[in-house]
Amino acid sequence: MSLLSVRGLHVTYTTQAGAVPAVRGIDIELDRGQVLGLAGESGCGKSTIAGAILRLLPAGTQVSGEVMLEGDDVLGMRARRLRAIRWTEASIVFQGAMHALNPVQRIGEQIAEPIILHGQAGEREAVVRAGALLEQVGLPPRRLKDYPHELSGGQRQRAMIAMALACNPSLIIADEPTTALDVMVQAQVLRLLKELQRDLGLAMIFITHDLSVLVETCDRLAIMYAGRIIEEGPAEVVFHQPAHPYTRALAAAFPEIGDQRFRRNPSGLPGDPPYPADLPSGCTFHPRCPDVFGPCPDVDPRLYDVSPGRRAACLLVEGALAAAGVTAAAPETARSDATAEEEA
């Protein structure tokens, strides 16, 4: 049994302007100790998934599908049970530690609070544990007495990680944990997360727009576009031999220094990510796709097998046209890197 199993997840926000479908049918399987990277641009629905897994979305949001955490149905769970599993089975490290911490409460009290609330320890013991947690994330225990404003950005993010670890969860969802940090501090926090994950055998979902960060921290990568996963597979393969034209463009936005293909040659996609309430027909990526051909504006592709453990939602994947019941032939010129790579 996987630790986390998400099937057919749909999330639709209700706004004044009408229904906005943010997540449109997502499946995720995550085993113990495994790290999944979820990448995509703003508005693709990646943070919504984090909220849906722990039911942290605003009231009135329509959520359907199935979220099973250690065999428990999260979406159907009563409030009491839900409170019990948050922190103890799964916890979240949010982006922007500045706003996620209470500014008028000492760090130590904030870390000890979930430990006490979940009855895992008394007050005195909880403070001792909080000190040990701070040490584990590389902060001296005397920092327990500090307020959030007395810590630097990197230290605050470390404190957030300590809090997420407080009740020994088996799953941590990290939502843009390093986005607002400086490059050097970002590398420190990434290394810390990776070490903790390895040492404690944690499962992690790592959400970010920065694909290059995911390659070195994750086992598997899932790329999102317009509320769906459009490509998934082993992290390095997805990054270096993308099968979907969108993944290829996203990977090119993080050039490898020294790679002459990128030198004095910026490449990007025309247009912008679509607004979730106003999605293009067929493949939602087709208006921006460099490889668009005949059936793309009409056929909504599902994930097709590229190779074992690797899928992409593109009609250029071998066999996709037949699977989608389309008779058109794929243009010879526009073949995905992955297909070419495998043939070579």
Binding site: E216, I257, P266
Partner: protein
């Protein structure tokens, strides 16, 4: 810091369009009320502590470093938005302060956050035309605005005249900001993190636009960034700043592939790549410009000092006690490191 003759003149012997000579900008640090009442003095933050650099016409120079290194303050000084306490900035050989208004027409700034840079209550037309009105430029305003928008890739421009910023996407807004700069037909653009607030797939297009503007209009571009990958994609030369100084400057291919300063090396090591987390990461936070260390300002974090290699090479006392200027390693490639004069690599 003296200016090296080698960088004074380009290969063609032309005078640089912009010369920054040993500028110093400091800010009074913040002080609590209590400390102020008992007469304690606020410490001085030396944000820019002796920066010299030159830009040739039509060149793209990337100014890189961590936050707090002084790169934005340097850019603001170049724009005439901060007045250096010491040093001078020459544009086409003339101090920029002499004719600041005329200078500000020729040199335009593109800010980081396109949403903050545009007035939400103004139409796109008004936003782009604002510069023309401030500088009282005569001529057909409508045609000038249309030309600037088209130049920035907003085609057909007339379609966007009556739009408001919230009706545009992030990439389009950044194009409008760039159009607002182009409308005055500047010779130089200072771009502060021009793509860091944009979605990854959109960044490349904006960078391609900057390169095209250089090609087509001969613009000189100073781009401030924390992203060395961006420098690799568009810059001719790279200057790396640390604690208010340029610690390394040279051709992008050289600096990014064969860095001479341990700090540049460290910055390159943390650019995420496969296996990158196994490499050394500098400990600690970005340093404090109110407490600049003696000797080489990087020595407290320098891996060459920490590993004992500096001691082996007999330069450790210099690292700890002797401040140094940029030293030329190869033609046009300078580093402020005690390793360079003895021919060692970081």
């Amino acid at each position: 810091m003296e200016t090296e003759p080698a960088t004074r003149e380009s290969a063609e012997g032309a005078r640089p369009i912009l010369e920054v000579r040993d500028i110093h900008v400091s800010f009074a640090g913040r002080l609590g009320l209590g400390a102020g009442l008992i007469g304690r003095k606020a410490s001085l933050a030396r944000a820019v502590d002796g920066v010299s650099l030159e830009l040739q016409k039509g060149e793209i120079l990337a100014l890189a470093g961590e936050s707090g290194c002084g790169k934005t303050t340097t850019a603001r000084a170049v724009m005439g938005l901060e007045r250096p306490q010491r040093g001078e900035i020459l544009y086409e050989g003339e101090p920029i302060w002499k004719r600041l208004r005329a200078y500000r027409r020729k040199v335009q700034m593109v800010f980081q956050d396109p949403t903050g840079a545009l007035n939400p209550r103004q139409t796109i037309y008004e936003s782009v035309a604002e510069g023309l009105r401030i500088h009282r430029v005569h001529g057909d305003e409508r045609a000038q605005v249309a030309k600037a928008l088209a130049s920035a890739g907003m085609r057909p421009p007339e379609r966007f005249f009556l739009n408001y910023p919230h009706e545009l996407s992030g990439g389009q807004r950044q194009r409008v900001v760039i159009a607002g700069a182009l409308v005055l037909e500047p010779h130089m653009i200072v771009a502060d993190e021009p793509v860091s607030n944009l979605d990854a797939s959109v960044r490349g297009e904006i960078l391609a636009l900057l390169m095209e503007l250089r090609q087509r209009l001969g613009l000189t571009i100073l781009v401030v960034t924390h992203d060395l990958g961006l420098a690799w994609t568009i810059a001719d030369r790279v200057a790396v700043m640390y604690l208010g100084r340029i610690v390394e400057i040279g051709p992008a291919d050289e600096v990014l592939q064969r860095p001479k300063h341990p700090y540049t090396r460290a910055l390159l090591d943390v650019v995420p790549e496969v296996g990158g987390l196994e490499r050394p990461i500098l400990q600690g936070e970005p340093p404090d410009p109110t407490k600049i260390p003696l000797g080489c300002r990087f020595h407290p974090r320098c891996p060459v000092v920490a590993s004992g290699r500096a001691a082996e090479l007999g330069i450790e006392t210099k690292c700890r006690g002797e401040d140094l200027n940029l030293v030329e390693d190869k033609p046009g490639h300078f580093a402020a490191c005690h390793l360079t004069p003895i021919g060692e690599q970081p």
